[in-house]
């Protein structure tokens, strides 16, 4: 008996524990509706204490109309046994002590305890769930409204291409009813060849994951129900719904836009033609008069005719430019790309623009060229670019000056630049120089001519060549416009790791009778940022020095056919050529010649023996160049992630600086740890780098045998005295090119004086 009691008590205890901890409220009421027990969760839900509820009618927990009806329910149920209240998961409303009405889920059970009928109510507060549900419904309704009303057609298809959903715009665009589309293959909306190719696309994607279809803004053709074909812009995206891959296609009918483009094109073409026709008469008449066909004119008349002629030419340029521009904007400018020799382009450009140069009293000179380099280009269009840049330079160059044209290799690209020593581009116009109708000064239009469209067109042409155009300018000093276009690979030297650039250092002439050794030397030089030409004999070397110079240095083999290297060296010395040319002997006999030849041994040039050690070769060349220039080269490590700023530095510094570039903390660490006995005099340091802060390098720098000076050049204003090892800092936005150069020079000069 005792034992049973204990079991019974345990059971009660357990039940109580369950009731106390469940999250649902549990309430028992009598057949009259009087609350007999409540669990803590129920108290929490309704906000009452146990005392306040026990003995109360359960109606206190109900808002109207439940409250009024409840007694009736109970009576009805007891009389008829009909279960109006009892059941699972009804959604009703409850009322908290504070009067707040809330949604709840109610399950009512009926039981008999000691022959007395009772009810158990289990209540769950679903306020939050309701809130979430209503939000979801709202979002769904909104999304649905968007999809229903958007002007673009939205179609979802499955992996087999079967249409699953379409929005009303789709039906409107294609002219179908939705039941005619859903369940059909989406290729029904495509004319050939798309129609036949589509299954293949989908299969290809399913097999390989390769996206031939997916993407944004492809111009394709659609086919309406009536069979008409129209221009369509299509964006396809992939999505996963319940683990099922699907595609969403967004289609836009661009018939009207295409039509408008076509109309605009035709208009421009017609206008251009209509403008040209009277211009033909004007230009012809004035030209003939100027040409003396109708006899001689007085000076005054000539002056007037010349005004008419100049303005006719200007009007013609403007018409041509507007036509080009409209074609570019419509994406209709034709390009006939073929392999082009860079050298030939420069030669041709000089030839074609010499006349204009003469008119402006400037000379065009090729300063640097890359022999054998080729690019993919449209010759006519690149000539247009060259003419634009050259005529601009000529307009702004001082009379009698030279405008320099150069082509160099730059990171597997060919960089062609045009440099004038004009007034420079005022700061205010630098940002908009490539925009339409911008000229530095509106009065310039009259002074120097031009349409204000040239650079805009030039930029578009360069970009069509996968290139980019930019400029460096300094007021009162001059301007360099340059553009980079990719070099055709087979002609590219292996200079992928080219991080060393030597501003102002000219080419090097490699003289060696062994073609393989000559090529090897050229490769070694290229890896250190030197360009080189090859001569296989002394005669060839003399010829190149005469025609392709100036060179900064020459490597000279001793044993050469006909005339040996030592003899050539002596001739160069006596002819004074050598005053500006650093010579390095590269030969197994170099040591013998340099120590025994009576004409050489007193003042021998640097020499390197064979087999050639690359570091020795580069050291010897640098030493020789330094000796020739009568000054030590300053080695700068430029740590900067912005390629344009790196390039700017190269253009700013003269030939006495050797700049090594690093685009990240990691690259800079590599350069600093790989000095091999060389030194940096200065580190020009950016702070914000892709892989960390430039300041992280300070420790490495301070641990070097010859720690370089550190000059911070960053977007942030750094408090120099707070950080040791930093000499000074400049803020990018507040520093002019001149200030930067001056600061670098003064830091380096102070170091030397130390």
């Amino acid at each position: 008996m005792q034992k049973i009691d204990q079991n019974f008590l345990d059971q009660v205890e357990r039940t109580r524990a369950i009731l106390d901890t469940v999250v649902d409220g549990i309430i028992t009421i009598s057949a009259q509706g009087i609350i007999e027990t409540v669990n803590p969760a129920a108290l929490g839900i309704f906000g009452y204490t146990e005392d306040e509820l026990i003995g109360q009618n359960v109606k206190v927990l109900m808002p109207e109309p439940y409250k009024k009806e409840h007694d009736g329910y109970l009576a009805h149920h007891i009389q008829t046994g009909e279960k109006k209240v009892i059941g699972i998961g009804r959604e009703v409303e409850g009322k908290r002590k504070n009067g707040q009405v809330f949604p709840m889920e109610l399950s009512v059970g009926e039981m008999e305890v000691s022959g007395v009928k009772m009810f158990t109510g289990i209540v769950r507060d679903i306020t939050e769930r309701k809130f979430v549900e209503s939000r979801q419904q709202e979002v769904e309704a909104r999304t649905k409204a968007i999809i229903e009303t958007v002007v673009d057609g939205i179609i979802t298809i499955n992996m087999q291409g079967i249409i699953e959903t379409v929005n009303p715009a789709t039906l409107r665009i294609f002219g179908y009813q939705d039941h005619e589309m859903i369940g059909q293959n989406v290729k029904m909306l495509m004319p050939n060849p798309y129609h036949d190719e589509h299954d293949g696309y989908l299969k290809h994607f399913a097999d390989t994951g390769e996206r031939k279809v997916i993407g944004i803004g492809r111009d394709v053709q659609g086919q309406r129900k009536d069979g008409s074909v129209f221009s369509l812009e299509l964006a396809v995206s992939e999505m996963s719904v319940n683990g099922k891959r699907m595609f969403t296609g967004i289609v836009r009918d661009v018939t009207e836009r295409k039509q408008a483009e076509k109309t605009k094109e035709e208009f421009i073409s017609t206008v251009s033609h209509e403008l040209r026709t009277p211009l033909t008469s004007i230009r012809g008449s004035v030209g003939l008069l100027m040409g003396g066909v109708a006899g001689e004119f007085s000076d005054k008349a000539k002056q007037l005719l010349s005004i008419a002629q100049n303005n006719t030419e200007r009007l013609l340029m403007l018409i041509n430019d507007i036509l080009d521009l409209s074609k570019i904007e419509a994406g209709k400018m034709d390009f006939n790309f073929q392999e082009m020799d860079v050298q030939a382009l420069l030669d041709h450009a000089i030839e074609a623009n010499a006349g204009y140069g003469a008119e402006k009293e400037v000379h065009f000179v090729v300063e640097n060229s890359v022999q054998g380099a080729a690019v993919h280009g449209d010759e006519g269009r690149l000539m247009q670019v060259m003419s634009n840049l050259m005529s601009n330079a000529a307009k702004f160059a001082p009379k009698g000056d030279s405008v320099k044209i150069s082509a160099v290799r730059h990171h597997n690209q060919i960089r062609i630049s045009v440099t004038d020593h004009g007034s420079g581009i005022p700061k205010a116009f630098q940002g908009t120089i490539f925009d339409k109708f911008t000229q530095a000064d509106s009065s310039d239009t009259r002074q120097v001519g031009g349409t204000g469209l040239g650079l805009n067109i030039t930029k578009a042409i360069v970009e069509k060549h996968s290139g980019r155009i930019s400029f460096v300018t300094e007021e009162g000093v001059g301007t360099t416009f340059y553009f980079d276009i990719p070099e055709i690979k087979s002609h590219t030297l292996d200079t992928e790791n080219e991080t060393v650039l030597r501003p102002g250092v000219k080419k090097i002439l490699v003289c060696d009778d062994e073609p393989d050794i000559a090529s090897l030397i050229r490769l070694m030089l290229a890896q250190s940022g030197f360009e080189a030409d090859i001569a296989l004999t002394a005669e060839e070397a003399e010829n190149l020095l005469r025609t392709q110079g100036p060179y900064s240095a020459m490597t000279l083999d001793i044993q050469l056919p006909n005339k040996d290297g030592a003899t050539l060296y002596k001739e160069l010395r006596s002819s004074k050529v050598i005053e500006n040319l650093a010579v390095v002997f590269v030969s197994v006999q170099a040591e013998r010649v340099c120590t025994t030849d009576p004409d050489i041994k007193d003042n021998p040039p640097p020499w390197v023996t064979k087999p050639i050690d690359e570091n020795n070769l580069i050291d010897a060349i640098e030493l020789a160049i330094e000796e020739k220039q009568g000054q030590q080269l300053v080695h700068i490590l430029h740590v900067e992630d912005d390629a344009d700023i790196r390039q700017l530095m190269v253009l700013l510094m003269d030939e006495s600086f050797v700049i090594t570039q690093a685009g990240s903390v990691k690259e800079a660490e590599m350069q600093l740890n790989d000095l091999q006995g060389n030194r940096f005099d200065l580190v020009l340091l950016d702070i914000g780098l892709p892989d960390g802060s430039g300041l992280d390098l300070l420790e490495t720098i301070s641990e070097l045998t010859y720690p370089p000076e550190v000059l911070v050049f960053s977007a942030d204003d750094i408090q120099v005295n707070e950080i040791s090892h930093i000499k000074d800092s400049l803020v990018k936005s507040k520093t002019t090119n001149d200030q930067l150069v001056a600061k670098i020079k003064s830091v380096v000069a102070n170091r030397k004086g130390r």
Partner: protein, 130 residues
Amino acid sequence: MAKQLQKILYAEDEPDIQSIAQMTLEMMGGYTLKVCNNGQEAVDAAEAFAPDLILLDVMMPMMDGPQALEAIRKIPALAETPVIFMTAKVQQQEIQGYKDLGAIEVIAKPFDPMTLSETINKLWEAAINS
């Protein structure tokens, strides 16, 4: 002695341009011109005039330049006579279109009156010798 360019059949509907071209081709080039106001006139005059070169505007009333070229090519004696179009419709694809019709070159309007004769002579010589 090599054959020289002498007779040019020229069709142009714009009177001003007509007189300028005529003036420059006769005075500068010393050529003999037969000037026509449209393509039809050019076709009608072609066989009797027996030109060394035919210079055609493109847009003309009655018969335009390309149609005139087609008609002239059917005259056996003129099947090989070099034809140059002179037009203000000088978009790249248009130029290519005229060349595809069999023109040796397209001269853009406005032309330079001082160099027109020389340009035409060079083009003609190149075509004759090819």
